[in-house]
Amino acid sequence: MTHAALAAEASTVPDERFLIARAQQGDRDAARSLYDAHSRRVHRLVFRLCGDEEMARDLTQDTFIRVFDKLSSFRGESAFATWVHRIAVTVTLNGLRKERRLKRGADDLDVANDLPAPSNNVDPDLRARLRAAIEALPPGSRASVILHDIEGYTHAEIGEMLGIAEGTSKARLFDARSRLRKALAAYANRGE
């Protein structure tokens, strides 16, 4: 069965258990279907966490290699997407710590030129500075901000992804937001 056929079949089944069961038995077409279903969201998440195209591609691949390596241990206690995203976050944070390739400073200001259409009341320079400030946060705090405030995950989901308590996620976000307010204090009134 081709991965397209598997994906079509999976779409007629209420969930992904069929594909997961096949992939757990080494069916690479089923694995490909799972990859097709989740790779875009994972890649976007990884890119937002690491801020680097090449690194995002590598870490997305690393994520799925880890996913299929660990798939036999997936028991369905959580949603498959949550489980995959947790691996993606772990792989990315480890990659960031290992490579120390957080983008900072002037590089980020250059990115401002590539921003999509600006919203009504935010100065482009302030927007770039916010992004730089987020990327300058420690990896754990940065992940909390990206996951909660940018990607829209709940604290419960973030806790599951990062392997921390929900309260810890809230505390991290509070701390990260305090740092952001300090970092942007000098520019508080711009664009208002």
Binding site: G26, R28, A31, S39, R44, F47, T60, D69, P118, L184
Partner: protein, 208 residues
């Protein structure tokens, strides 16, 4: 900076944070497949012996799952069949029936996966894993045989067929020989498992 202003900035960031350029997902899959599954197979269809048994068994069982369970659910909803309730009050028949449906659906689905992958993959995979899966499915099958679900004779026949096959697979050991696998697949033929399932599917489709 106030919390409100920061929220405003973060709302803006949510909308304007750059999306990554679309990567070449096909090329990315190449590395994932290589590292996760080894070299790309040359041609699965040509490499494997065409297996009408696995194909027809999977198809029949999938049909069985859809049609049989649909009719089974209808039969359960019909009034006054002789049902062994095992302590389940009659006024909870619908929730109980739904619960059995769910268990049966999961059982058949997992059994299809196991049976269809057995001939082609059992020689290359852990026999212990197959054995453990079959043991687990066998337990569920026997529980269903002792449940009100087995009050439908056609469904009971199917469960008994599955019990025999799963019992054989459960006895698979590591280091099994080709003969062991062939014995099981031959047993599927000797017991006419596939034609009987197909007949059952046809009977159910006719509403006999």
């Amino acid at each position: 900076m106030t919390e409100e202003r920061l929220n405003e900035l973060l709302d803006d960031a949510r909308r304007t944070w750059p999306l990554p350029p679309e990567p070449d997902y096909q090329a990315m899959w190449g590395r994932i497949e290589r590292e996760s599954f080894g070299a790309r197979r040359p041609d699965v269809g040509a490499a494997r012996t065409p297996s009408w048994r696995t194909f027809s068994l999977g198809l029949a069982a999938a049909l069985m799952m859809g049609i049989g369970l649909g009719r089974f659910t209808m039969n359960q909803a019909a009034p006054a069949p002789t049902v062994v309730t095992q302590g389940v009050p009659t006024d909870t028949a619908t929730p109980a029936s739904n619960a059995y449906d769910k268990v049966a659906s999961e059982l058949l689905g997992r059994t299809v996966v196991l049976l269809t992958s057995l001939p082609s993959e059992a020689r290359n995979s852990s026999g212990e894993r197959f054995s453990n899966q079959a043991t687990e499915l066998l337990t569920s099958t026997r529980l269903l045989l002792d449940s009100p679900a087995a009050s439908d004779p056609r469904f009971k026949d199917l469960l008994e067929d599955l019990e025999l096959v799963l019992a054989q697979i459960a006895m698979l050991q590591s280091g099994r020989s080709r003969q062991e696998i062939d014995l099981i697949t031959d047993a599927l033929e000797e017991r006419d498992v596939v034609p009987r399932i197909q007949s059952a599917v046809a009977r159910l489709a006719r509403g006999d």
